[in-house]
Symmetry: C2
Subunit: 306 residues, 2 copies
Amino acid sequence: MTRTIVESRSGAAIIGFDQPFCVIGERINPTGRKALAAELEAGDFSTVERDALEQVACGATMLDVNAGVVYNSNPNPNETEPPLMRAMISLVQGLVDVPLCIDSSVPAALEAGLETAHGRPLVNSVTGEEERLERVLPLVAKYNVPVVAISNDDTGISEDPDVRFAVARKIVQRAADFGIPAHDIVVDPLMMPVGAMATAGLQVFALVRRLREELGVNTTCGASNVSFGLPNRHAINAAFLPMAIAAGMTSAIMNPVRPAEMMAVRAANLLMNNDPHGAAWIRANRAPGAEEAGTGRRREGRRRRG
Amino acid sequence: MTRTIVESRSGAAIIGFDQPFCVIGERINPTGRKALAAELEAGDFSTVERDALEQVACGATMLDVNAGVVYNSNPNPNETEPPLMRAMISLVQGLVDVPLCIDSSVPAALEAGLETAHGRPLVNSVTGEEERLERVLPLVAKYNVPVVAISNDDTGISEDPDVRFAVARKIVQRAADFGIPAHDIVVDPLMMPVGAMATAGLQVFALVRRLREELGVNTTCGASNVSFGLPNRHAINAAFLPMAIAAGMTSAIMNPVRPAEMMAVRAANLLMNNDPHGAAWIRANRAPGAEEAGTGRRREGRRRRG
């Protein structure tokens, strides 16, 4: 049984076929968040702090941390990202005790994150591009951590799912050359917006099944991408997640503060028999105001012990 | 490609793998509805009328009609059900132009419904019990209509999905002896409450896939049974339906007036590429007040033409 172990300072989580779905909180990311980007350049981490606490309070299993801000004062991410990643990781793991996902396209920022993070973080990401394989896989091997493998390569993102499967297989094979086992690779088969490609959902369901059965790997995706450009996106996401989980997807990078999506994930855990005695479902739905959880700003997180 | 054709007076619907999910409205059923049972005994059809219009307004593809009321004045359903079924079918098809599902365990009531219904109704149901096979299949053959086949037999409802599959296969084979093709059989693999049997969801997803791949039949179930006894049932149902649809289920007997479940079905249609150009999704979500549709009592239905 495929199990990807991720660890924080004192805790651990397992990504696996027989585990509750791993919710990787996506909020700590300045991409497309101008106010957050400006805050980070000014050294203001209050939004990061709030996003960390709130996402964990709403049920995130892990938190993604992305320092990909383009400073007005210095447009070179190779210089700005590594120290910012270090600072953000330190801050977040000082607030909450969940495993982190170090998210960058700058290898030096990944390494800065790996040096700083407690436990066993997840690296996000490597692709099938030659230069990325050569830069990222040695880091993954050196730190003995799992990695997200995105199934595009030097030719771009293929619309053909067979090509995306082949890219994933190539990454798994290349990783093996570095001593990285398949159970430490979490493949992102690339969720296209269903509004742009009508078969995108079917493609991903079929790919997830193949990746699980043929490569034995865990899978993830940027879940909200499925609904891009369409009305009532949360309802689409909330249907997509259970369908992907039923196909075998084991994690997603998503917004745990959205109650529709989180409720769908919790119900899917129950229906997949990954919620023993329905305890998590009952807890989430019996607590006073539980159905409203995540709609407001919450200040309490799972604080680090000791 | 398996296609089960059902027809009303002037319309038709297709149950099939490449079709939008067939929502069979469950409301017109006095079982467990004491007020409705009392109304029907008193000859008051106002609730039936409202349930017909409201369910079609909320998006039901078909309507189930069940006349299984036990009269205080006459406890023999063999005497009371056939005339009541006739009256209810006449009323409903006078109000709305959707195919009907004639739901009874009394063969004479099924025949009364078949004599009365316009078009090509769905018979609900036959089981693997010998006496039911012998009584119902000749009716199905005589009227050349499709039938729901529930996978229990004289030994009861098995908790073993392999046994339920075998019962379904037996019904398909017996139906063939009567000249009834597999594409006119809609198998109900029996959805157990997940609160009573933790593997019930996984069982049904696997059974639906097998029934589709090995027997080539359409499938249905009483969807809300999955959440029996648990809190926040609508959220469980709303996750279950997309998962069942992803596994290949093509219809369900459900309450279309519940917006959470109907939104989940519409989103699943979109994600399965059974909503060309996302037109139905956009229509349901762009209309003023669309997201509230079904939360209140609505008086307008798709009225019969001509």
